[in-house]
């Protein structure tokens, strides 16, 4: 079985400041890694994913995440946040083996960007 830990339930940050949202996972098999974002009153959207290859993955809106296998982490970072980044962010994993892509989510981190 897999599990995902997001230690920070809330992260307040001022606009234009850097931010890191932490995610650690546990799994006995290789996994896919994801970050999903849920903006206020909207559905979950895929932000970025790591399937294989480069350990650093980037999104179109400036977020990046680095897969660290030895530390079983997939932390999300942005060098300069904007007020519109205010949302809840969920880290998730799924097994690479067949039978669907059932996601196991962390408990989420609420990012609040303040002026």
């Amino acid at each position: 079985a897999q599990s995902v830990t997001q230690l920070d339930s809330q992260v307040p940050v001022f606009e234009e400041a850097p931010v890191e949202l932490r995610c650690n996972y546990s799994s006995s098999v290789s996994v896919y890694l994801f970050w999903y974002v849920q903006y206020p009153n909207q559905g979950l959207q895929l932000l970025l994913k790591h399937l294989s290859g480069s350990t650093l993955v980037e999104s179109i809106n400036g977020f990046e995440a680095e897969f660290n296998k030895s530390q079983t982490s997939f932390h999300l970072r942005k060098p300069s946040v904007h007020i519109s980044d205010t949302a809840e962010y969920f880290c998730a994993v799924s097994k690479i083996t067949g039978g669907g892509n059932k996601l196991t989510f962390g408990t989420g981190t609420q990012l609040k960007v303040e002026l």
Binding site: F34, G43, K49, N101, K102, L103, F105, T107
Partner: protein, 114 residues
């Protein structure tokens, strides 16, 4: 094209009543997932459908929960004899196939059991 749609968006029901939640996946997506988002449990997987294969029901919390998918498209999640702990947002997601790494989520149905 249209995304995943769910209905109703909100449902308030009395304890003990049955409820049906509907999900319309993206056209052409053969894989369909149901998840539940609740305060106590976070986001958790409930059930997975792939085409006409038998569903993976490993995440259903009790036998009061069931789901079906007709014609490989629309899915209905049914909760019988609802309890207050069933109150949650029920999310549906679809993807191109079982090995597709991206799931597209619907807006969810907020269920409140009084």
């Amino acid at each position: 094209g249209a995304g995943v749609s769910q209905s109703p968006s909100n449902k308030v029901t009395e304890k003990g009543k049955d409820v049906e939640l509907r999900c319309d996946p993206i056209s052409g997506h053969t894989a369909l997932y149901w998840y539940r988002q609740s305060l106590g449990q976070g986001l958790e997987f409930l059930i997975y459908f792939q085409g006409n294969s038998a569903p993976d029901k490993s995440g259903l919390p009790s036998d009061r929960f069931s789901a079906e998918r007709t014609g490989g498209s629309v899915s209905t999640l049914t909760i019988q004899r609802t309890q207050q702990e069933d109150s949650a947002v029920y999310l549906c997601a679809s993807s191109l196939g079982p090995y597709s790494d991206e799931q597209y989520f619907g807006p969810g149905t907020r269920l409140t059991v009084t």
